[in-house]
């Protein structure tokens, strides 16, 4: 160990992997519907893609968790992105190819990907 900078580099590298164990109430939550319907519709690859993207971008304060069926099984895979202080956004019929855009636009830049949301899907 040569310097504090070197130590900080190691710290940063591990931090986002353990940050869920710290008390962070300001974290962005991605909640994926993972009941039987969600899993059957392909929620698992979607969630793995999220983990992958978060890792690639070394995002801190993002937790990925899962939830049960919310009763709109025909729209699965569904997921919520919950940014503290803002309204919950629900994305529907998500496939792994859509994930990169949700992460880049919504989670990183705060712009909701309107065309993927439940409003867009049901509004038509």
């Amino acid at each position: 160990m040569k310097s504090l900078a070197e130590l900080e580099a190691i710290r940063q590298k591990t931090l986002d992997k353990v940050s869920m164990r710290k008390d962070a109430d300001d974290s962005i939550r991605v909640v994926v519907g993972m009941a039987t319907c969600g899993i059957a519709a392909g929620a698992r690859p979607v969630m793995l893609k999220f983990l992958d993207e978060i890792q690639k971008r070394s995002l801190k304060n993002v937790t990925v968790s899962q939830t049960g069926c919310i009763g709109m099984c025909r729209l699965e895979p569904m997921l919520d992105v919950i940014v503290p202080g803002k309204e919950k956004v629900t994305y529907v019929k998500v496939n792994p190819d859509m994930v990169a855009r949700i992460v880049a636009e919504h989670i990183v830049n705060g712009r909701v990907v309107t065309e993927y949301t439940i409003g867009a899907a049901e509004g038509k």
């Binding site: 160990m1 130590l7 993972m34 009941a35 969630m47 890792q55 899962q66 939830t67």
Partner: protein, 596 residues
């Protein structure tokens, strides 16, 4: 290390390991793989969470769900419900009261809410065998700060200013100790960590070593820099195999990362640490005896002065601190002395870890700010006395401390207040006693321990404590004589004043404090040959009352044929034949047999 969406933290402390947590980890790994979750969920073995009573403990993040008393069969359900489908398994979640039905996380459990975890901050949070996780929680940052931004004098000053006092029990200001060692001129000095925790029922240091070994290494290195030592020793008892193993791993990892070894943080400072195993003698917790043991000699104390800071290990200036003291150091350096002073009270700053045991609902490890009331620890955090019994006393400081009765429950816990009421802080063992505990027998128990552990070097301790024990044994057997209490008091005072080391000087404390607060119990044993707590077997008499229906069950179970009487008539116990085994009382269905 990859990113996982969920972490399953399984307690790997001694308590939970003995209740089967290693088996749980294996089962979790199997089940997680079977369900194809091995890329999403990570299993981490941590140090002690503190709530050993509810072990084995499992916490699932990010929800922070607190599962307690998990058996291997429960694992399948947690994996298939919680981890796979995201549904919390309610019936396995820790409940404070039987009728509670809610999602409890660590922060909103009564046991944890009043606590402030400084020394235990990483216990139950990080994987103790992974240096990266320690670094992620600000590990080794304090060492970097000390070596690159502070002079050794500044480090000593900061520790002195923080008001940190020795957590091994005596409460000597740590900063002052470091300054003494720093002031000694010598080419070789030593930094020693006293991990020879020996009080019956105490496991604070053990948990720190098992849950956060790097904190101790970091603090010892900071201390080495402050006093000018380049070699450290951790003296730990061989009965702590998990602690020893994790220390060995930690030392190896610290070498790989260069936070131990040559030229740490490019500052030109070298430091190394070696482990020395003790064979488990209580007296080796005394610093001069401990140093003799490291040198390879017999664990016997020697008179002070010269103090270790002048002439210690291998005749060189040496500084010795306790594990918990060390565990506080990195944060003092990192956040400053003023921050540390803001916790606790004026004369006792910071927090103290206590090992709660005895007649208490939540057996386990707690850390509270100094100045917290005993009542809060026992009744709020500890959950009170089981089975609706009444609180009688709490023993602090182990065999060196004293018993504190109910009337002092509202005093704030500080080094000085505890000494004033005839006990001491000690290393942090806290044994709770209820109305069924006989105080004379408690005193006998602790003295029995010190007589066993006395090294025999000085006469007051070797012979004096033995004589005291003989008197106490006589009293609990109903052979006490008038004047015994006064003899105990006189002997106790003599031993305290004349014994060579801390072991002997404090050995009479449990006897003197119980005489002080519970003299009436001693008198009842001696004068009336009666044990008020109905505990001392030799002083008990079993009697059959008129509730007896004459079922003959008691007469049949009595191993010595002391019970006579015919069917459907009241039976009678022959006191001379009775061996007071209690079998008849257990057998009686009508509650007709009483002891008094």
């Amino acid at each position: 290390m990859d990113l996982f969406r969920a972490h399953v933290l399984v307690c790997g402390g001694t308590g939970c390991t003995s209740s089967g947590s290693a088996e749980l980890i294996k089962r979790f790994e199997e089940q997680i793989e079977k369900n194809g979750l091995d890329k999403e969920v990570k299993v981490v073995r941590t140090g002690c969470f503190g709530l050993c009573e509810a072990g084995p403990v499992v916490i699932v993040y990010p929800e922070g769900t607190f599962y307690s008393r998990i058996r291997p069969d429960d694992v399948d359900e947690i994996v298939s419900e919680h981890l796979l489908k995201g549904r919390i398994v309610q019936h396995l979640v820790y409940k404070e009261k039987a009728d509670e039905e809610q999602h409890l996380t660590l922060e909103n459990i009564d046991f944890y809410r009043p606590q402030k975890r400084l020394a235990l901050r990483n216990c139950g949070v990080i994987d103790p065998e992974n240096i990266d996780e320690y670094i992620a929680f600000d590990g080794y940052k304090a060492l970097g700060k000390a070596l690159t931004e502070m002079t050794p004098e500044q480090v000593c000053d900061e520790v002195l200013k923080s008001g940190l006092r020795g957590r091994g029990g005596a409460g000597f200001p740590t900063g002052k100790k470091w300054q003494f060692a720093a002031a000694s001129k010598s080419d070789v000095k030593y930094m020693v960590c006293n991990a020879d925790e020996g009080d019956p029922g105490a496991f604070m240091d053990r948990s720190v070593l098992e849950g956060d070994p790097h904190a101790v290494l970091e603090a010892m290195t900071i201390g080495g820099y402050a006093i000018g030592a380049h070699q450290g020793y951790i003296y730990v008892r061989a009965e702590y195999p998990i602690a020893v193993k994790r220390l060995e791993i930690a030392i190896q990892q610290a070498h790989e990362y260069g936070v131990l070894g040559k030229n740490i943080f490019d500052s030109g400072f070298d430091f190394d640490i070696a482990i020395r195993l003790g064979a488990g003698a209580f007296v080796c917790g005394e610093e001069t005896a401990l140093m003799h043991s490291i040198e390879g000699g017999r664990g016997e104390p020697k008179p002070k002065p010269p103090f270790p800071a002048v002439k210690g290990l291998f005749e060189k200036p040496t500084n010795i601190n306790n594990v918990e003291t060390f565990a506080n150091i990195p944060q003092i350096i990192l956040h400053g002395a003023d921050w540390f002073r803001s916790i606790g009270t004026e004369r006792s700053t910071g927090t103290k870890v206590f090992a709660l045991g005895g007649k208490i609902n939540n057996t386990g490890l707690v850390e509270v700010p100094m100045g917290t009331k005993l009542r809060d620890i026992i009744f709020n955090i500890g959950g009170g006395i089981p089975n609706g019994k009444a609180f009688k006393a709490v023993q602090t400081g182990g065999p060196s401390g004293g018993c504190i009765p109910a009337e002092h429950l509202d005093i704030p816990i500080e080094y000085d207040t505890l000494t004033q009421i005839g006990s001491m802080m000690g290393s942090g063992g806290m044994i709770v006693m209820d109305e069924d505990n006989c105080m004379v027998d408690i005193a006998r128990f602790f003295l029995d321990f010190t007589v066993d552990e006395s090294c025999g070097k000085c006469t007051p301790c070797r012979i004096g404590t033995k004589r005291m024990l003989e008197i106490l044994e006589r009293i609990v057997e109903g052979k006490g004589e008038e004047g015994d209490i006064e003899k105990l008091e006189a002997l106790g005072k003599n031993i305290k004043e004349t014994a060579l080391c801390g072991l002997g000087q404090t050995a009479p404390n449990p006897v003197l404090s119980t005489i002080h607060y519970f003299r009436d119990e001693y008198e009842a044993h001696i004068r009336e040959k009666r044990c008020p707590a109905h505990h001392c077997q030799k002083l008990l008499n079993y009697e059959i009352t008129d509730k007896c229906r004459g079922c003959t069950a008691c007469a049949k179970v009595c191993p010595v044929g002391a019970i006579s009487g015919s069917v459907k008539e009241m039976h009678k116990i022959d006191v001379l034949k009775c061996i007071k085994c209690g079998s008849c009382m257990e057998k009686c269905r009508f509650g007709a047999i009483v002891k008094n």
